[in-house]
Structure formats: structure tokens, C-alpha cells
Amino acid sequence: MRSGSFLLIAASLGFLFLYAPIVSLVVYSFNDSRLVTVWGGFTTKWYGELFKDVALVNAALVSLKVAVIAATLATILGTIAGFVLSRFGRFKGRLLFTGMVTAPLVMPEVITGLSLLLLFVGLEQATGWPAGRSATTIIIAHTTFCLAYVAVVVQSRLAGFDRSLEEAAMDLGARPLKVFFSVTLPIIAPALISGWLLAFTLSLDDAVIASFVSGPGSTTLPVEILSRVRRGVSPVINALATLIIVVVAVGFLIASLLMIRAERQRRRDEQKALAGK
């Protein structure tokens, strides 16, 4: 059919567009020439150089630390915020609360970065804290904008949540706090995990906000990459990109395999139940 082949071609071109740059990143990481795009034979020396590059390795460690802490904080605060938004009905300041939770989703990064930096400078002037820019200030900044994403994930999960489960727990004598920890939280746990992963990725990915609020000793990996990339291409960066792609792809593959297996198990169980065994 005509429209079928058109779709097939369009989709194939689309996927080519999505993956060609990634493939070129990987290919040129094995290129034995400093001019990244001129092929000079196969080598793995850039990977060796990557691990000898103290600045990059340090930046990567800072990034990981910041991402883990910020994602965890964002998940805690974002879960509470999402819960408040979907379960608390009306309260004083709800409009302000909703606005503050959703605004970071549409806020240009440069504004978030600038405003937080100015706050930190002002606070330091007034109270002495925070003393300069450090990993702490990046963590605060990342927690703030990741919180919004987690809140949205949790809120949409709670919107599709059968409220009678919570009511049943309460009806059986559980107080609200107990209901939350014994029923709500275990059921929305998958949403929390994906919220955490999203926050973790966003934090690892952010170059702009971190550029504003990072100090001399606390450069994150994206900030370091951004400043190098602005000076031009470098095969070391290609090697780094390849490593990141491999890690993400493997993690993604494992996660989806686990999900598929869980889904199959669930379906088998349901069939068994329907058969009345």
C-alpha cells in the first residue's frame, strides 16, 4: 500500500536522524587523529587519556554525588508536593503552591540559574551562608527544579490511583500517616523510582544552571564539557560520550527486560486466576 510504504520510509529516515549523530560520536571516539572528523585509523588511546584527565574525572565524581543527593532530596520533597497537589483539596495558598511547583517546568534554565546565584550571593552577604559556591549550592539548585518533575510524575500516578484503596485502609482503622506508609507509598513506589531516575538524569544533564551556581572547586561534568566544547571538538569528549551511551543503553536494556518479565508473570497469574486454579 502507498501510504504504508511512505510511513515506513519516513519512520526509517526519522530513526536514522535520531541515531546517526550518536553513531558518529561513537565511531570517532576510536579515531586516531586529533581532528575529530578526519579518519586516521583505529585507536583506543582516547579512553586511556580520558581516565588520566584529572579535571574530567573529578568533575564526573562531583556530578554523581550532586545527582544522587539532589535526586533523593527532590524525590522526597516532590513526592510530598505531588501528594499535596492531588490529595489535599483546597487550602490557603494552594494557588501559590501549585504555581511554584509547576513553574520550574517552563522556566528557562538561564533564569533559574541566575536567580539562584543572586539569592546565594545575597544570602552570603547577609548571613555568611552559603560560603561561596560549592556542591551544596548545586544540590540546592538541582533539587529545586527536579522537585517539580518528580511532583508531576507522582501527581499523575496518584490521579490514576484508586482512592478507595486509601479509604479502605482508613476504614479498617489506619490513621492518615499509617495509610500513606502502608498503602499509598508501596503502590506508587514504581512512580517514585522513575521520578528518582528522571531527577538523577536531569541533574547529570544540566550544564546551564550548574554553570551559574558552581564554584571553582565544584565543577560538574556538564559544566566542564560545556567549557571545553565551546573551545572546539576533542576526541576525549567523544570517548566520554561513548562511555555514557554504553552505560545508559545497558541500564535501559536491563530495566526493560525486567519490566517485560514482570509483565509476563502478571499476565500468567491473571490467566491462572481466570481459569479458577
Binding site: S164, E167, M170, D171, L172, K178, S182, D269, E270
Partner: protein
């Protein structure tokens, strides 16, 4: 004008607590109103329910029956009015402090807990010691015939099994009052009929007071000791199933429960023990066996159930309650036949007859017929 008399209900349980003016109600709902913004979900409802009753709240969607149930459970607070359980005012009491448990329409089984953990959940909240808890869970699972399924997760059960787990979980705490929201709504027809009897059996064995919300009139008739019919936030009639069917007190109840023929007319004679109604629609005078409310000349309707109408080719001797018409449609169902008769006024009357005899010469399409019924079969409805 005469004082309106209530039709005497023959066969009403004489010793039932609701017939005894001295009996103390277990649940008292007094002038309860619930508003959501401008919308009045429950409008000034007063109702007494007695211990060990199986009371059905029957109504369509949006009639307020579920809101009333949720107020009993404590999920909603009345806008005004009071709810008492065993003489205790429940105002402000949260769901977890009430001696009431609920079985949810969706069952609301916790998907991350096993069947046994689901049943034990309420006992855990009360701090019941482990040994006693296990024993009670086993007892409950035995009662609903699910003993071997304790370790399963809810998604590993069939619909009927889930329904029974929900029942076991709600009963595990031995509540004084069990609320059931459309308990059989999610089951298919065959399973529903079996489960109805099981539910009644369990209720009779435990003696717990049940309040069931349902939109299914057959279900209400089968289960209930008494039915409260709800419409637009109000309770329009409370009574035993038979009373509701035979003596509906309003056009709404007569129409909502079972099939009915309704003849609009005016009061012609309003005697001490009878009334005569002139109905143009029916093309006849209709006699009612008791005094009706209202003055002579007031509009009124007469309801007659299809199975109470007799049909024949010859005109009966009586002068009242006799209608003539033409057979318009017949549906033969084997044991029963439904007829639709067209009256000269254009009104259609429905009749149900049991096919007791194998007629050689059955009444057929377009045949003129006479319809009649005995005086006690007619019910006058002014509202």
C-alpha cells in the same frame, strides 16, 4: 373530605422491630443533608435502622445513596443533621474511629499484600496479637471458603474470589455495622445469584447489621429485610420488599420497582373505606379499596401491576375497573406472555399472563378484549 388512610399491609412481619414503636433503633439518621457546593446530594434524610437488619438503599445513579453510605462510613461529613450509631453521635469521628467497616464496590484490595495480609490489615491496626490475628484470618477465610488462597495476591484471584476476600476483610474486625457498596455489581449474572444467597447466609449467621447500596431492584428484593428507595437525594419510601412492590406510595416508586400501568384521573367519590376515580385515559371508573388523600376533583393516578390485570373476550359483569381495548402486540416467552393493549384513548396497557392452559384458540393480534382487575389491586398515587 376524609382523612387519608394508609393501605393496610397484609402479612407485614408483626414482630419486626420497625413495627414495634418501643424498639430502639441501632442507627439513627436525623435530618441529614449533604451539599457539594450548590449541589444537594442528600436532602434532609431521616432514617432508623435496627440491629441485625439487612437494609438496602435502592436508587438510580446520582440518587444520593452512595453519599449517604459514605457519611455513615465517615468519608464525608454531613452539611447538617446528625448520625447516631448505638446512641453515639458520630459527628466529626474519622473513619478509623468508627465501629463500622465497608466493602467497596471496586473491592479496594491492597494489590501489594497477600490475601491473608489483606484480611489481617484491620486487626493489625487494632494491635491484635499475632496468634489471635492468624486465627481470626483463618476463620474468616474459612467462612468465605477461601482457605487455600491465603498466600495469593489479589491479581491471582478471579472476580468472585476477590469479592469474597473483600467481604472477609471487612468482617474481620467484627464491626457492628457493615456497609456494602454495590457488593455484587462487578459479578456476572449467574455468580451474582449464587452470591446473593451466600451473603444473606453470612449475615444471618453473624447477626451483623448490613446496609447495602444497590441500583438493582431484584438484588434489593432478594437481599433486604427492608428497602429504602432513594430519589434525588431523598428517601421516597421505606418498607419491606413486598410492601414497596404492592403498595408504592409515589409514582416514582411504582415506576422504579417492577412494571406498572399508570392511569391518570380525578377523584370522583372519596368515601370512608373506598374511593372512585374517573380516568379519561382509561376510559373507565376505577375503584380503590381505601380512602385516598385529597378532595373530590383533585388529580390522582392509579397504578396497576401488569400481572394483576385479567383479560378476556367477554365483558365482565362489573361496571368499575373494566377497560376495553385492542391487542396491539404479543410477546410469547414460554411460561409467560406479555401483551400490549391499545385503549380508545390511545393509551397502551401492559399485561402479563401465565400460560397455564394450552389454548386452542388464543387471543391474537388486533382482537378486541376487555381488561379488569380486583379492587384491592389498584393503588392510588397522589405524589
Amino acid at each position: 373530605m376524609s382523612l387519608a388512610q394508609k393501605p393496610k399491609v397484609p402479612g407485614a412481619a408483626a414482630r419486626a422491630p420497625w413495627a414495634d414503636p418501643d424498639a430502639k433503633p441501632f442507627i439513627r439518621i436525623r435530618n441529614v443533608t449533604k451539599k457539594f457546593g450548590d449541589f444537594v446530594a442528600v436532602n434532609n434524610v431521616s432514617l432508623d435502622i435496627y440491629r441485625s437488619e439487612l437494609f438496602c438503599l435502592l436508587g438510580g445513579s446520582g440518587s444520593g445513596k452512595s453519599t449517604l453510605l459514605r457519611m455513615l462510613a465517615g468519608f464525608e461529613q454531613p452539611t447538617s443533621g446528625a448520625i447516631e450509631i448505638e446512641g453515639q453521635d458520630m459527628a466529626g469521628a474519622p473513619p478509623y474511629d468508627r465501629p463500622v467497616n465497608m466493602m467497596f464496590q471496586s473491592y479496594a484490595l491492597f494489590p501489594h499484600m497477600s490475601v491473608a495480609d489483606n484480611v489481617a490489615y484491620g486487626l493489625k491496626q487494632d494491635g491484635v496479637p499475632r496468634a489471635e490475628r492468624d486465627e481470626r484470618v483463618a476463620e474468616m477465610l474459612r467462612m468465605v471458603k477461601l482457605e487455600p488462597y491465603g498466600k495469593r495476591r489479589p491479581h491471582q484471584l478471579s472476580g468472585g474470589q476477590r469479592q469474597r476476600v473483600a467481604l472477609a476483610r471487612a468482617l474481620a474486625k467484627r464491626p457492628k455495622l457493615l456497609l456494602l457498596d454495590e457488593p455484587l455489581g462487578a459479578l456476572d449474572k449467574k455468580l451474582r445469584e449464587e452470591t446473593q444467597f451466600e451473603l444473606v447466609g453470612i449475615q444471618e449467621k453473624l447477626g451483623t447489621t448490613f446496609i447495602v447500596v444497590t441500583h438493582d431492584q431484584e438484588e434489593a428484593m432478594t437481599l433486604a429485610t427492608r428497602i429504602g428507595v432513594m430519589n434525588q437525594g431523598q428517601i421516597t419510601q421505606v418498607g419491606e420488599p413486598r410492601e414497596i412492590y404492592e403498595y408504592p406510595r409515589s409514582r416514582f416508586v411504582a415506576n422504579f420497582i417492577g412494571d406498572v400501568n399508570m392511569f391518570e384521573g380525578r377523584i370522583l367519590v372519596d368515601g370512608v373505606d373506598h374511593a372512585v376515580i374517573d380516568s379519561e385515559e382509561a376510559g373507565a371508573r376505577i375503584r380503590i379499596g381505601y380512602a385516598v388523600p385529597g378532595r373530590e376533583g383533585d388529580p390522582i393516578a392509579v397504578a396497576v401491576r401488569p400481572e394483576k390485570i385479567l383479560m378476556g373476550r367477554e365483558r365482565p359483569a362489573e361496571t368499575e375497573n373494566v377497560l376495553s381495548g385492542v391487542v396491539e402486540d404479543i410477546s410469547y416467552l414460554g411460561g409467560l406472555s406479555h401483551y400490549r393493549i391499545r385503549l380508545p384513548s390511545g393509551k397502551r396497557v401492559r399485561i402479563t399472563q401465565t400460560n397455564r392452559d394450552r389454548h386452542e384458540d388464543p387471543i391474537t393480534w388486533e382482537e378486541p378484549v376487555f381488561l379488569s382487575w380486583e379492587t384491592p389491586s389498584g393503588v392510588a398515587l397522589s405524589s
